[in-house]
């Protein structure tokens, strides 16, 4: 019968292992998911607090903002600039927020 045949085949495969895995080393890599790591407005790294927050000692509240164009700035720096012009300071495209965060 067909079922018997497949069971026998499975049993056969179990006994004859091609190889055994003795050791398994995983290596993970990561990098910041940003195109530009310095805020082009205040010229401080985006992962550090902007100049404004540094001088007001509000380092923890300083977050990064990414636009649809994938350019990133400090949210504080960008919120001041959009009052002047709603364009990305780097590529001049219309500024649309993609996300904010650290």
């Amino acid at each position: 019968m067909e079922t018997d045949q497949t069971e026998r085949d499975a049993a056969h495969n179990k006994t004859e292992k091609m190889f055994t895995l003795k050791k398994w080393n995983l290596v993970a890599m990561w990098s910041w998911d940003v195109e530009c790591d310095t805020c082009a407005i205040c010229r401080v790294q985006v992962m550090d607090a902007c100049l404004q927050c540094q001088s007001e000692n509000k380092q923890d509240d300083c977050v990064v903002v990414w636009g649809e164009c994938n350019h990133s700035f400090h949210n504080c720096c960008m919120s001041l600039w959009v009052k002047q012009s709603n364009r990305c300071p780097l590529c001049q495209q219309e500024w649309v927020v993609q996300r904010t965060g650290k």
């Binding site: 082009a40 407005i41 010229r43 100049l51 001088s55 001041l80 600039w81 300071p89 780097l90």
Partner: protein, 171 residues
């Protein structure tokens, strides 16, 4: 107390010193970081060649969200420079971006000397001569290049240059 604008200007100054663009130089004035003095050397292959044109750059606390006021102190004859030395340049007005710094401003003005835009003249005579009688334009420019060497009289520019190369023994 330092403000973000002042700290940004310190960064601009640092960058200008570490990575100086060719043919321009600038530094904050002695007691006021919001007021800079700069020099643009006339670009090669232009009638401005060999000129040393002095400028002032005045920043506000809104920098870099607002552009500074840039003005030639040396006499200038250029289609896009007004009689009072102020400059008609898009990036200093409606095309300003907060990513620009002193280095970018000075190199943009340097390239404006190279490529005037006679279609939006600030100096009508210069624009007309540039378009119609280039020889006359070049003569007028040659005169202000000469004058640019003489404007040291008003302030004492006798600081000794101390960066003479020291000979290193046994290298």
């Amino acid at each position: 107390m330092t403000t973000p604008a002042r700290r940004r200007l310190m960064r601009d100054f640092k960058r200008l010193q570490e990575d100086p663009p060719a043919g321009v130089s600038g530094a904050p004035s002695d007691n006021n970081i919001m007021l800079w003095n700069a020099v643009i050397f006339g670009p090669h292959d232009t009638p401005f060649e060999d000129g040393t044109f002095k400028l002032t750059i005045e920043f506000t606390e809104e920098y870099p969200n607002k552009p500074p006021t840039v003005r030639f102190i040396s006499k200038m004859f250029h289609p896009n420079v007004y009689a009072d030395g102020s400059i008609c340049l898009d990036i200093l007005q409606n095309r300003w971006s907060p990513t620009y710094d002193v280095s970018a401003i000075l190199t943009s003005i340097q390239s404006l000397l190279h490529d005037p835009n006679p279609n939006s003249p600030a100096n009508y005579e210069a624009a007309q001569l540039y378009r119609e009688t280039r020889r006359e334009y070049e003569k007028k420019v040659a005169a202000i290049v000469q004058e640019s060497w003489n404007d040291d009289d008003d302030d004492d520019d006798d600081e000794g240059e101390e960066d003479e190369e020291e000979s290193k023994a046994g290298s």
